[in-house]
């Protein structure tokens, strides 16, 4: 067995999982399982939310240690699922290390849905959350417009490389402002609060929060607190954005000389 390739495979599997938003213990577990296939004395992995270290050692060989820094993160549960499958197959000896490495390389680039479909996702979340919170057909229609604005704002912030805090605040700001604007000038009588709540749902850090709890429970306190902090910061950004949007609207409509 090629130890070097095995370590490389293990770290690649871990890296994809970590980037795609898996819990720390799952990443460590996957790397450990793959490394143990080598049958060496020590097979260790240490994973933080920002990086991976993996090491394989034995008196018979020179120690192999790999470190990998992870910067960009993007939730993609399909990749977590696929990597999990590959590692299962590898550990059950259904595929060789070479095959596993090749498959992992393919997984790193897989995208299930096109960008257009994802934009529809934003609109869908806004519309159906409005429905879920008890909105009427008119509310849902207004939510569709707000959702489209949100999708556009999300695209724009990626284009101009806005950092996470600013991009969340910017999206939330546009949501609040658009909805209030629609309520006043186009569809009076829509329930603006429900629509705003529905539209900020894609921004609210539900996923990060869930992962943070599970990390903390598993004893990965460093990553757990880091992710919890991330969730709090995102929530603050959304709150600040919505607040700014509502404030601006009030200021514009309150100072009637402007209009």
């Amino acid at each position: 067995m090629n130890d070097k390739l095995l370590v490389e495979t293990a770290v690649l599997a871990g890296e994809i999982m970590l980037i795609s938003g898996a819990e720390i213990f799952r990443v460590e577990d996957t790397i450990d399982h793959i490394l143990r296939k080598a049958g060496r004395d020590t097979a260790e992995s240490i994973v933080f939310s920002t990086g991976i270290f993996a090491s394989l050692n034995d008196p018979a060989i020179e120690a192999i240690t790999v470190a990998r820094r992870v910067t960009v993160r993007n939730t993609n549960l399909n990749r977590v699922y696929l990597v999990n499958n590959v590692s299962r197959k590898l550990c059950a000896d259904l595929i060789t290390v070479e095959e596993a490495y090749q498959q992992l390389k393919e997984i790193r680039g897989t995208v299930q849905f096109q960008k257009r479909l994802k934009d529809m996702g934003f609109v869908g979340v806004a519309v159906f959350f409005t429905l879920l919170l008890g909105g009427s057909a008119r509310d849902c229609l207004a939510a569709a417009v707000t959702g489209a604005v949100l999708a556009g704002a999300a695209k724009l912030s990626v284009r101009i490389r806005l950092n996470d805090f600013c991009s969340n605040a910017f999206c939330a700001f546009l949501i609040a402002f658009t909805t209030l604007f629609l309520e006043r000038w186009i569809w009076s009588g829509i329930k603006s609060d429900i629509i705003i709540i529905g539209a900020i749902m894609p921004l609210v850090p539900g996923v990060i929060f869930t992962t943070a709890i599970r990390d903390t429970l598993n004893g990965d306190y460093a990553s757990g607190t880091a992710r919890m902090m991330e969730a709090v910061v995102i929530a603050l950004a959304v709150a600040a954005g919505v607040g700014a949007g509502m404030g601006l609207y009030q200021w514009l409509t309150g100072g009637s000389f402007l209009w």
Partner: protein, 139 residues
């Protein structure tokens, strides 16, 4: 209530698009989310408490996610994350901010506390289910 549950089903499926949940589990995760929201509405109607509603619905979502993960041999996260989303306290965060804007600090801190309580309730529910399914599992 039927319409709202259907809304939850479709909302979770739209969210699955954003989170890139594997295509074949779309309907299942939507179903888990809808069941969770139905429980949320029922508990809220019966007990009148948002926090109890969030707790019990998260408990159900976590339980069914663990079972689904065992059946389909997929990571628990795939089902859990999307199912939890309807009970995430986005509404309380919004109301808290909106009260600040409309000069009502007392109501604002009420909603802020509610946000924290709901988050705590969801966290407790996930904790409990994770711990239960961990029993007797070897390292």
């Amino acid at each position: 209530m039927v319409i709202q549950t259907a809304g939850a089903f479709l909302a979770v499926i739209s969210f699955s698009l954003l989170l890139e949940i594997p295509k074949k589990y779309f309907v299942l995760s939507g179903g888990i989310g809808a069941a969770g929201w139905l429980v949320y509405l029922l508990v809220q109607a019966a007990a009148g408490s948002v926090i109890a509603a969030a707790f019990l619905s998260s408990l159900l979502v976590a339980l069914s996610s663990h079972i689904a993960a065992r059946i389909y041999k997929a990571p628990v996260t795939v089902f859990l994350v999307a199912g939890i989303l309807p009970s995430v306290p986005g509404a309380s965060i919004y109301r808290s901010v909106s009260c600040v804007i409309s000069n009502n600090p007392e109501l604002s801190s009420h909603y802020l506390v509610e946000t924290l309580q709901i988050s705590g309730a969801i966290a407790m529910a996930i904790f409990i289910m994770d711990s239960l399914f961990r029993l007797g599992k070897k390292k």
